[in-house]
Point group: C2
Chain length 302, copies 2
């Protein structure tokens, strides 16, 4: 595997910088009482790769950032949903994780009650942001875009929970690749797809042939992301990951390396990335930001 | 206090029947994996007073049920949010309640993980329903109505969580009436207001003077509902309530009776209802369903 190029690192760094600013602007618009405010900021502002917002921005870039306020709101909203899911996943009754992004998890830092409520409120905040006029400069975007974005986000959020339930139910069981894909298509794939599709509906008309091509890309890249995650859980150290490594094996979680062997999983991740790249050919080189993020996701070490 | 009239009971029974059907239709539209499906149905279908849907329908009745599909979706969505909040409130790390509506709470029946996830997914389902075309017959309702409903629901859901946090923070502390009202305006008042306002924006134009009148009514009735809840926690038995009575005192929760004495709290509840009724005078007798529900809420024993 090749290592990361400067272009990949710079593209992601620019997205990370933008989303960090926009998340802070968004959170500052709410009057959250303490200690909930602290828990919410802890959950959102400590970083992370910001893959989903980066995918939003990169998708919008194909169409020269048309309706960019709606894209920025989508990026914030999707990241808030992602952060809520991490806070609830880490709770004692779930994965009981103590470490996330190299920091104490939300319930360790703020207590279980504040963490539960922080997750809950992050979800409703995501929809508040999406329906707001935050980042609008001048005319509001078309209302049909806002409704489509809300539908995409709500459906993906539900699917994410379905996937989480399916995942928990499969712990300690022998499952086949079909079941594993179903879990991941819901658990992580749905939200990654949503990041791309929420930007897609903002910049492309609903009947544009670009829409199904981006959906194809989104599904392949979403699954590739998860296969790579499973691989990294085995091949990386806790220090590199910023979260507990080897956790999957510890809780007898089904993973691609466990199912098909590590070498085969690495090949499968590459195949999925090839599928994703093929879908982008439709854009004749105008989707270079999406290509770069896709390469970053394949070559990342954490 | 007068006892309930047949009209009040029949009006609420009709609303309960309708929402029960609509909730079932809504849940059947989702492909929820087990055991999450069981937990979701347990959380939603076991009953409850269905006060919020009844307020939706009664508000729409003022305008002869204009845009009724949007009102029905709003009623379902708001009840799903209410049910999610109950499931999370009952969790061991929160109130640790074992009994709700005379039945084992969700985590008792389905385990803590499924209950946490059921609450999470009920929230996103509410937004899915609101953005869907469920119950539409013929033309879709105006998009601006859907967006307004989503904004109202998302904001109320966030406020509900703020109120829950403020409430937990006040346990075992001496708080004044201002703080208590702030808690309740967020914790229960916001969602009750939202039920009324989501129907209001579906049946009235945004600039109609009916809108501020309904907001006035909503705020008074929301607070009255909570004062009455506090009173019932003291004066009713566990059997009558279908949930553990005397719980407030047990966890040193601040309540209106604790703050102002039981007699004064009863007078205050009546005053708030008078305020609510006064706001309805604007409608010249055309808001009789809202009047009946308001009377029911004052005279209820559970």
């Amino acid at each position: 595997m090749s290592s990361l190029t400067n272009m990949q690192i710079n593209g992601l760094a620019a997205a990370q910088h933008r989303i960090q600013q926009d998340l802070l602007t968004a959170l500052d618009a709410f009057s959250i009482p303490e200690p909930l405010k602290g828990a919410v900021h802890h959950a959102v502002m400590l970083g992370g790769k910001r893959v989903r917002p980066a995918l939003c921005y990169a998708t919008a870039d194909i169409q020269l950032n048309k309706n960019f306020a709606a894209v920025r709101r989508a990026a914030v909203a999707i990241e808030l949903i992602h952060c809520y899911s991490l806070v609830h996943d880490d709770l004692p009754c779930m994965d009981n994780d103590l470490l996330r992004r190299g920091q104490p998890t939300c319930h360790v830092a703020f207590g279980e009650r504040a963490a539960l409520l922080a997750g809950d409120v992050l979800q409703s905040m995501a929809f508040e942001i999406l329906g707001s006029r935050l980042f609008d400069q001048g005319a509001a975007v078309d209302q049909s875009i806002v409704i489509k974005q809300m539908q995409i986000l709500a459906t993906a959020s539900s699917k994410m929970v379905y996937g989480q339930m399916l995942d928990l139910e499969s712990e300690g069981k022998q499952i086949d690749q079909e079941t594993l894909e179903k879990i991941h298509k819901n658990k992580t794939g749905a939200l990654i797809s949503a990041a791309i599709m929420m930007a897609a509906v903002a910049v492309f008309d609903g009947v544009d042939p670009a829409i199904p091509k981006l959906r194809e890309f989104a599904q392949a890249v979403g699954l590739a992301f998860q296969v790579q995650d499973d691989i990294l859980d085995i091949t990386s150290s806790t220090e590199e990951l910023g979260k507990t490594a080897g956790k999957d094996e510890q809780v007898e979680k089904s993973t691609y390396p466990a199912l098909m062997g590590l070498d085969q999983a690495v090949i499968y991740a590459k195949e999925l990335h090839d599928q994703a790249f093929n879908a982008l050919k439709f854009f004749n080189g105008n989707a270079s930001e999406l290509e770069q993020i896709s390469l970053f996701l394949l070559n990342r070490k954490q």
